[in-house]
Symmetry: C2
Subunit: 469 residues, 2 copies
């Protein structure tokens, strides 16, 4: 690589917020601003809208990006240097359906909402849709673009990265942005300059280093606050505002390091037993992003964004300039950010830049462990800090204490492995075996009834995705 | 070693059935029949009775064993070459008490009766009594007999061997007899000559090899039977007769290898949810050894044995010869076996013989894994086949399939590690955290109430044992 005119495909490009961040980053990174971006999405309207915005964005920044729309995965992948996958196969409709069937049978927030797995769009047991898609993309890359990098943005990143990395031979890395939670913690402590490191698994990362530039351990500050923090005073600004919630402090006290980002959502069942419990730990009025109220808020926001993007596309088509778009909603701030000189914070484009131009960059990456975190399985994806330069990764030595390994990472990883075993062998009996140990299960009959209603849908959806072009 | 006049102490020697087996083995193994056996038990009457029987036994076999009774652990350990620990600190009274408090708070069969932990006398969360005793013995050995071998016979063997091996530097091995379950399976298949191997963790071992002498895989025979086995025809002869129970066959189908010995008791919660479920899987009328009915049967048997031993001791003291003792109960058969030329089947004395006389012997031993079973933590005791000669162990290459590793061994080992973490740090909050994930837990209040009633007792018992001489 290092050549001009990189070909980068985005699968699931209809996710406008994500796509526009990625495309604006391409505009802003001069070495990549002549890339050919391939947009692919099953929703033609949305991807057409994104295309309109993308072209305007490139023009606005004076970039030389070219765009095309692909109709099939093969079409997107063939000839690509990088494939970014952000797709949610089946969309929120599938997610809502499988969750509602779970709740009907006594599994509050769905059967995927187990210990260490409460991030709502992070299906774990019913995710055969996503797993099928991930494998399909990876196998297409293996065949049609064997030198391409596969960048996993879609959830579940832990299972997805593990699956693709163990089942295929392609170059791959999983990305998340959860580590930005460190900023909220630093701001709260009144620290502006600091060194940090995180480590763990996706949506299960811990602040393994946190010091001033001079090397003073900032955990001393955390410890001081932890002694006096008043849980009842916590008032989240939105359902996702949980980095300083009571549960984050409780987790710190239990595990010994601070949980970062989605890790706070991804806590144990005792914090999620019912809405009242969620509100107690994640704050009123939502009880966190994964409660029935918090998730509704989020889905409504998403719908609003889709509408606004639709409106934007219409306006742009009728000749309005991109910097003249306005809605009077928080989307204006988002747009302002996209149009600023600042990078979005998503890691994909800076990563591509580091790989292509041999410019060292520090990233939080998901890759197979292979000894990076001690006492954790080798054949499972961990999330860890690394400096990337060309195709070389230099992983930071990361010490995760035994308390976290034995009480958080291992149970979480075990569930990932069991879920992948069930998926790879299409063995529903294994799903039943997991559910038999679920604190919400009252009887084997409950499990049987649930399985017989839910799994025909899970299997059908996976088959649909398998058969799509 | 290799010297004459070995000194071997038995802690918990009041367990007459076990002690008489061990002592009769010493009588029968000529190289060891001049050993000095030190008996120690907190129950003076029972240990005095055992002493009477032991002396008679030595005389009966023409052995030159000498005996002494020790009042303290230090007294037993000092100068010993081998220390066998079979003690149950607090006895069945403690076990019954902690279980009844568990049941009172909604934990059927007690809080120790979790997934992979249904062997009744194998307390896992409330075993601070045993753990304290094990550590106390081990530290006494470290100080007063640093060259001695510690042979762990008392439950829990997995946790006990792990604890002592990781916390002290003494030579140790854990023993169980569960692998004799292979004989029942072979008999059922009509196979008299066969090769076998087991591997896993204590009370969680699997038949990793099973062939004829000519190398034919006997799993082919198992598979044939598995297709046609009629669960409703299973009629156990006693509560412990479960090697061919429906649950054993189900476990074989789920995990891919046959579970051996207590592993069958140590199955998942779905086989133990209530008495009806237990009866379905372990057979009528008892529902296995760990149901309220099966365990009652066992405890009554034990009480009967204590009475008979008491009676025997009286008779021997009044001049009756050991081979003239009779009760008209199954104990007569046991006595007959003790007085026969055949070894008891317990591994301790043959092991001591192999170590002391450099005679190779094959054993099923519990030792720290350190790579012996792949994909299992190194710092945890596994149960595995080894040839012992002198102090050298040659471990057999043992392949445990991933299905068993990820669905049985790892969850079981995780619980052991968590339980040991709670014990070593005397951290009751960790116990609460385990219980929050228990399928029987309905609310955090339930956990709190249970903990506040149960743990003062657990802590007090551990302290008592700590303070005993």
């Amino acid at each position: 690589m290092g050549k001009a005119g990189l070909r980068v495909s985005i699968i699931g490009a209809g996710s406008a917020v994500f796509s526009m961040k990625i495309i604006s980053d391409f505009c802003k990174v001069s070495s990549l601003s002549d890339s050919n971006i391939v947009l692919m999405d099953i929703d033609k309207t949305r991807v057409e809208n994104v295309l309109v915005l993308a072209k305007e964005l490139s023009q606005y920044f004076g970039a030389k990006l070219t765009f095309e729309i692909a109709d099939t995965i093969k079409g997107a992948v063939e000839g690509s240097d990088f494939v970014i996958n952000t797709a949610m196969a089946g969309g929120h409709g599938y997610l809502d359906l499988v969750r509602s069937i779970g709740e009907k049978h006594g599994y509050y927030r769905g059967i995927d909402a187990q210990n260490y797995n409460f991030v709502s769009d992070y299906l774990n047991l019913t995710n055969w849709n996503q797993m099928t898609l991930f494998l399909k993309i990876a196998r297409t890359i293996e065949k049609y673009a064997p030198e391409a990098w596969y960048l996993q943005a879609a959830n579940p990143v832990l299972e997805g990265t593990t699956l693709v990395s163990t089942q295929t031979g392609i170059k791959m890395v999983g990305f998340c942005h959860g580590h930005y939670g460190v900023e909220a913690l630093a701001k709260f402590l009144g620290v502006s300059e600091y060194e940090w490191q995180v480590g763990g698994v996706n949506h299960g990362i811990w602040l393994t280093k946190f010091t001033t530039k001079e090397g003073k351990n900032l955990y001393e500050e955390i410890e001081k606050v932890a002694q006096n923090v008043k849980y009842e005073e916590f008032k989240p600004s939105n359902p996702f505002d949980d980095q300083l919630s009571p549960v984050a402090w409780e987790m710190y006290k239990m595990y010994g390091l601070f949980p970062v980002g989605d890790t706070v959502r991804n806590s144990t069942w005792k914090y999620h037993r019912n809405l009242e419990t969620k509100i107690k730990w994640y704050g009123a009025p939502w009880g966190g992003a994964d409660s029935e109220i918090g998730w509704k808020w989020y889905v409504e926001q998403l719908a609003q964004v889709v509408n606004v993007i639709d409106m934007f596309a219409k306006m742009l088509r009728s000749g309005v300039k991109i910097n003249e778009l306005k809605t009077g909603t928080p989307i204006d701030d988002y747009l302002k950010e996209i149009l600023s000189e600042k990078l979005s914070g998503e890691q994909h484009v800076p990563f591509i830049n580091s790989v292509v131009t041999n410019t060292p960059g520090r990233f939080v990456v998901n890759v197979l462990n292979n000894g990076k975190i001690k006492n954790v399985d080798n054949d499972v994806a961990v999330e860890i800090c690394a400096t990337v330069c060309g195709e070389k990764f230099e992983f930071e030595e990361t010490h995760v204490p035994e308390r976290i390994v034995n009480w958080y990472l291992k149970p979480r990883i075990l569930l990932a492995k069991q879920a992948l075993d069930a998926f790879l062998n299409k063995n529903v009996k294994l799903i039943a075996d997991i559910l038999e140990r679920d604190p919400r299960t009252k009887s084997s009959e409950q499990v049987e009834k649930l399985i017989s209603e839910l799994y025909p849908i899970v299997i059908k959806k996976a088959k649909e995705i398998e058969e799509q072009e």
